[in-house]
């Protein structure tokens, strides 16, 4: 039963990837939608990395947008100042973010929830100021621009080549999500799932909890930084606008809406929020009023996030079909 269940989940994930792979062809290369999809893919990775930290390791991090930005600035600045090619600059962005992640983690992971949130948010605020203040290096509010793009033959990874860029982004997306998926299903990830379900288990895990949290925090910072580096190479620019409150809220809402600590939930949330925001754009001033209201309504009706819909629907179906698996499930 259990084996079959995991098999089905894998098959669904594979199916999702297949759908994503076929979408551009189905959309006949519609540039507008493809560019929005690319943005959704990137936000999906960031939201998943953040969720890995918040939903699984239960580390109340507010710093992932900062890691994202650190990755982006590192990649952009090294590419511009030192002429490092994109394929080296992107991982460098990830590594730098991971180093920051580990340092911050060492400082704050022993603290309790809200306190971690505050220290990590501190990183966020300080970073914003440092970028504006260090305008000679960072470009201030205008941001970092002017470096060689990621290029294969005549194709450039940029919004001007959406079809090509989409597959590059999808490849990176699959790679990074696969890493996240493996972590979730590794002994560490499973330990965290068990930990959030039962307190006694947390105690038996003992001292290692700190170490595990640090590892997960570092990895998710790495992924956030990496996708930040991809972001800057795609758009050719990053500016401190990224650190403003609206984007911060949007990414938080993405994985919360998808379902905290329910693996592909963050991705689903990212797609939903990105597309709903885009679709609501003609509302002008009322856009974020509508978005906020929709999120509130959806959450009040589906408190576990979109990923919990199957779980919530299953008992009804079971009752409707008169099958009773109560004992079986418990054992």
């Amino acid at each position: 039963m259990v084996v079959n269940k995991i098999g089905r989940k894998n098959a669904l994930l594979l199916g999702g990837v297949l759908v994503l792979g076929l979408l551009p062809i189905a959309l006949q290369g519609n540039a507008r939608i493809l560019n929005v999809l690319i943005a959704a893919l990137m936000w999906g990775v960031l939201a998943s990395a953040w969720d890995l930290c918040m939903g699984y390791a239960r580390v109340f991090s507010f710093g992932h947008l900062a890691f994202f930005t650190i990755g982006a600035y590192t990649a952009g600045l090294t590419a511009r100042q030192l002429g490092i090619p994109p394929l080296a600059a992107i991982p460098l962005g990830g590594v730098t973010a991971a180093i920051f992640g580990l340092l911050i983690g060492l400082l704050c992971l022993r603290l309790r929830g809200v306190y971690i949130a505050m220290v990590t948010f501190g990183l966020h605020m300080v970073l914003q100021t440092v970028i504006i203040w260090g305008r000679d290096i960072t470009g201030g509010k205008t941001g970092v621009t002017g470096f060689a793009p990621l290029q294969i033959g005549q194709y450039i990874f940029s919004p001007s080549y959406p079809f090509f860029s989409y597959y590059i982004a999808l490849g990176i997306f699959i790679l990074l999500l696969f890493i996240i998926y493996r972590i979730i299903n590794s002994p560490i990830g499973l330990a965290f799932v068990a930990l959030r379900d039962s307190e006694p288990y947390a105690k038996s895990l003992g001292v290692n909890e700190y170490k595990y949290k640090l590892i997960v925090f570092g990895i998710s910072a790495f992924i956030a930084g990496l996708i930040g580096a991809v972001y800057i190479h795609f758009y050719g620019i990053i500016s401190p606008v990224t650190l403003d409150i609206p984007i911060f809220l949007m990414v938080l809402i993405m994985f919360m809406l998808g379902g905290l600590g329910r693996f592909p939930g963050a991705v689903i949330g990212a797609f939903v929020i990105t597309f709903v925001t885009e679709a609501l754009r003609p509302l002008l001033l009322w856009r974020f009023v509508a978005l906020g209201a929709i999120v509130v309504a959806v959450t009040v009706f589906i408190p576990g996030g979109l990923m919990s819909i199957p779980e919530r629907v299953r008992p009804f179906i079971r009752r409707a079909f008169g099958r009773r698996h109560v004992e079986e499930e418990v054992s």
Binding site: P315, V326, E329, V330
Partner: protein
């Protein structure tokens, strides 16, 4: 006074109570025995409104109370004294007792009940300025019972009062419960071990795997083959 009729209670998809029926008459002291994890606490929690049964009903003084919020049930004169105590850890003994009399009907009798509790447990009076979290197991148990009495209850639902207590203290606690019962307050108590207190019970039930498997007086219980098998290993 209390009628529990064929209730089913679930934790998610797990059924903890299966068609359980129990009743307590005015002034009675009834004990439900049963091994650990077989649904005894669930029964009390369902009665006092912390859990809602999926089917069946609970009646108190003839009024259906399942589905009612706990504070209303407390207002009707029933109080639950929990196994894991649920005291307010960062409040003093006195503050805990005062909050015990939160229910509107208990407020006028607060001073009177406080005297009564201090009379029953004189040591609580000495410790009234101490934080509840600093109390030992037996002391905390007393405070829990005392807090329950503060609500001017006519019906106590006591969850394993002996759990984790030394035999001496255990006997004290049981004696106090009996004293309380003799003032006319009905008691429904849940216990793991049948031997210790069977003589003080008016009637007993045996609960196994979420079902009531035996009902009878204390003498009948001690004679019953199944009860013996479960508790005495005979």
């Amino acid at each position: 006074m209390l009628e529990v009729d064929r209730i089913d209670t679930y934790y998610g998809e797990f059924q903890a109570l299966k068609e359980v029926s129990v009743n307590v008459k005015e002034g009675e002291l009834v004990v439900v025995f049963g091994p650990n994890g077989h649904g005894k606490s669930t029964l009390l929690k369902t009665i006092c409104g912390l859990l809602t049964p999926a089917s069946g009903y609970v009646k108190f003084d003839g009024e259906q109370i399942n589905g009612m919020p706990t504070q209303k049930i407390v207002g009707m004169g029933m109080v639950y004294i929990a196994e894991d105590r649920h005291l307010f850890p960062d409040m003093t003994v006195l503050e805990n007792l005062k909050l015990g009399a939160y229910s509107p009907h208990a407020r006028p009798k607060e001073a009177e009940n406080l005297d009564y509790v201090f009379q029953l447990f004189p040591r609580l009076k000495d410790w009234r300025k101490r934080n509840a979290s600093t109390l030992s197991g037996g002391e905390a148990r007393m405070l829990a019972i005392g807090r329950g009495l503060m609500s001017a209850a006519r019906f106590l639902a006591i969850d394993e009062p002996s759990l984790g207590l030394a035999p001496m203290v255990r006997r004290d606690v049981f004696r106090t419960i009996k004293e309380i019962n003799e003032t006319g307050i009905s008691v429904l108590m849940v216990e793991q071990s049948v031997v210790q207190i069977s003589e003080m019970a008016d009637r007993t039930y045996l609960m196994e795997d979420g079902r009531i498997v035996f009902e009878g007086s204390k003498d009948e219980a001690l004679k019953d083959e199944h009860v013996k098998e479960v508790f005495l290993g005979i």
